[in-house]
């Protein structure tokens, strides 16, 4: 594998991580204020549709972006109305938003454009174009330049504005949440809303502010997939990215910088999956790696509760068993033999990682204490 290939995989990582990151931070704001948001997927989809539709009709991608943000904030307000004002179940409201978006986008697109639930392809000018940094070489000449130039031209340059914006959102979110009075209050509303209320600050107001911020971020992410990565809306084009972002949020333990790490890791796994159809690894490294994981698990659960010992210990035994199976199978032909790692395994890694976090293996993921509980003022 040459250096350029690695750069190209990282380049794909950035493109795929950007929408995840925006949606993940949207969930972070909402859940930190105490409002669970399972409707991220629906907001992403609705924003993708309306941004592509309006960008096509108006011919301006910026108006499209605004429309995408608009519909996403509208759905957020609906979620807020149901779960903050009406004190309804936040999960039910979120699921309803997902269904609403999945159905409405296709029906409205069909009635509007008559192309079968798709929007017409956007011309250049009506979509976000890649920003080429000064001096960057085009991809056709990439193989002829030095590694530093490859890094600069392929990885850093050539993304659309929204990718850079998504990356900038991370320090911004961190600053807002941890360095401003608003952020402190917002986090408090998710941990102990009664204390916030006692201090004379409106919990309802804070939570509404949080879901609106979530709406804005989902809107940008939707516009990114429909007007930047692609040039039209296709039914269900969000393809579960809202749910993956939720997994990333848990993986990141509800913290902005961790969210960046989690989304980059997930994006990297997707990019690897896209680039390499089947990964060949020597048998000894595969079997050894599995054995090491089994040993690490065993060491970890040694002083844990009985339940942990049972679940994670079982996992360790399973891993050791697979490792032994590989050894038995390839012993005859030599341990240097290449073994094919199925692409499905790489695709499922983000979920396996999330389950491991939830199982308490990679530190503990503790959600905001008052998350999912509507705030009722004491009489």
């Amino acid at each position: 594998m040459d250096f350029l290939t690695i750069i190209q995989v990282f380049d794909g990582t950035l493109r795929l991580a950007a929408p995840l990151l925006l949606v993940c931070l949207a969930g972070l704001f909402s859940e930190r204020s105490g409002i669970f948001d399972i409707g991220l997927e629906g907001k992403l989809l609705a924003a993708a549709f309306l941004s592509a539709a309006v960008a096509f009709v108006s011919g301006s991608v910026w108006i499209g972006l605004l429309a995408g943000i608009g519909v996403s904030v509208g759905l957020s307000a609906l979620h807020g109305l149901a779960s903050i004002t009406m004190r309804g179940d936040q999960i039910v409201s979120g699921v309803a938003i997902n269904f609403l978006a999945a159905g409405l986008t296709v029906v409205v697109a069909q009635a509007w454009f008559g192309e079968g639930g798709r929007t017409p392809a956007l011309k250049s000018g009506a979509r976000f174009e890649p920003i080429i940094f000064p001096g960057a070489v085009p991809s056709k000449e990439m193989a002829d330049v030095g590694p530093f130039m490859q890094l600069y031209s392929e990885l850093l340059s050539g993304h659309t504005l929204l990718v850079y914006a998504a990356l900038l959102t991370v320090p911004l979110s961190w600053f807002v949440l941890y360095k401003t009075r608003f952020g402190l209050r917002l986090r408090a509303a998710g941990e102990n809303p009664a204390a916030v209320d006692t201090a004379g600050i409106s919990v309802v107001g804070l939570r509404y502010a949080a879901v609106v911020i979530a709406g804005i971020l989902c809107g940008i992410a939707g516009a990114y997939i429909a007007t930047s990565l692609q040039a039209n809306f296709v039914k269900d084009m969000s393809a579960g990215r809202g749910y993956i972002a939720l997994a990333a949020l848990i993986f990141a333990k509800w913290r902005p910088w961790y969210a960046l790490g989690a989304c980059l890791l997930f994006g990297f796994l997707f990019a690897v999956d896209n680039r390499f159809q089947n990964i060949l690894l020597p048998a000894w490294s595969l079997s050894g790696g599995l054995l090491l994981m089994a040993l690490a698990l065993t060491g970890y659960v040694w002083r844990k509760d009985l339940l942990d010992k049972f679940v994670l210990g079982g996992l360790a035994v399973g891993l050791a068993f697979i490792s032994a199976l590989i050894v038995v199978n390839v012993w005859g032909v030599g341990m240097g033999n290449q073994i094919k790692v199925p692409v499905v395994f790489i695709q499922s890694l983000p979920y396996i990682l999330t389950v491991l976090v939830l199982a308490g293996f990679v530190g503990k993921a503790i959600p905001p204490r008052s998350g999912g509980v509507p705030y009722v003022k004491e009489k």
Binding site: Q110, L229, R275
Partner: protein
């Protein structure tokens, strides 16, 4: 207003159809959706053509979930629709259960060729042969000697496309390399244009300059990215040359519309297995991309496939491909 009218109109039509019990034909579209600009939409076009020519009307159900197959089929059969046509091999299991329970209803199914029932007509297509032809075009148009294939859901039928394509490529250029990717393993793989675009980018970075998409709605993303990056692409099922004019080299046509039209007419002996038509699309959008010389070579190959002197390996005959590993 028009929209409301059409909703009310279709509701009224349904109500009338149910009470009058006239044997209108019906069609069930598979999960990709009626307007996928591909497989299902071709089927819809065939049904439309029948309706326009005969002035008749037909019923339709767009499948929403995997679990809805049997319910949709039974609903139409109970309501007296006849014949009932299904698009997609995924109906095979449900059909073998439901069809014997309605012996007077004629069923038609696309992409299934292994069932045998007195009231079932099956349509199969030699996708490997059509893919072989577009594979030849891809190899002749490629300057780098590397071409790509993006499949939708990883199933035998799509591997059949990929395998035929690879054989066509290698027939023209034995040294060519073929990069094959599948979008996913679930039904969602038919509607993920973003991933389709990323797969295309990954193939381009490995040198591919022609990419064949057999991936339903995901293929829209492949064609878009290919146009953005200035390489050629190949569409599938319905003529997709117009989607990105000047960038879509050709489309591997699968005349599902003819099959549906034929089934709706319902002439002749019903039971049996029919052979559908495959080919490649030429129109004003790709006239400048395909030279007369290229066309002549492909037409010669098409003729020798028909006459039997050239045989293309079918992935589904032995679940393996001699020239491509998936």
């Amino acid at each position: 207003m028009n929209f409301m009218k059409s909703i009310l109109g279709s509701a009224a039509a349904l109500a009338i159809g149910a009470s009058a019990a006239v044997a209108d034909p019906a069609i069930i579209f598979d999960l990709g959706g009626k307007f996928d600009k591909s497989f299902n939409e071709t089927a819809f076009n065939g049904a439309q053509r029948w309706a326009e020519e005969t002035g008749g009307s037909f019923r339709e159900i767009e499948l929403q979930t995997e679990a809805g197959r049997e319910q949709a089929l039974r609903r139409l059969a109970e309501a007296g629709s006849n014949p009932i046509v299904m698009t997609g091999f995924m109906f095979a299991d449900v059909l073998s259960k439901v069809a014997p329970e309605y012996p007077d209803t004629r069923f038609g199914v696309i992409d299934v060729g292994w069932l045998d029932m007195p009231n079932l007509r099956q349509y199969i297509f030699n996708e490997h042969e059509g893919s072989y032809l577009v594979g030849m075009l891809a190899a002749m148009a490629s300057k780098t000697g590397t071409v790509g294939f993006v499949g939708g859901q990883d199933i035998g039928l799509i591997r059949r496309f990929g395998c035929g394509y690879a054989q066509g490529v290698l027939a023209v250029n034995p040294n060519a390399s073929i990069i094959a990717n599948m979008t996913g393993t679930t039904g969602a793989a038919w509607n993920d244009p973003v991933k389709g675009g990323e797969l295309t980018k990954a193939q381009i970075s490995q040198g591919a300059d022609v990419v064949f998409a057999a991936a339903g709605g995901t293929g829209i993303g492949v064609l878009q990215t290919a146009a953005d990056e200035g390489i050629l692409s190949i569409g599938v099922d319905m003529n997709q040359n117009h989607l990105q004019p000047g960038s879509v080299l050709t489309t591997m046509l699968k005349r599902v519309d003819n099959a549906v039209y034929d089934a709706f007419k319902g002439n002749g002996d019903w039971a049996g297995t029919m052979q559908g038509v495959v080919g490649y699309a030429m129109d004003e959008h790709n006239a400048s991309l395909v030279t007369a010389d290229m066309q002549a070579k492909v037409n010669a190959a098409e003729a020798s496939i028909k006459s039997g002197t050239l045989s293309v390996h079918d992935y589904m005959s032995d679940d393996s491909c001699p020239v491509l590993s998936f």
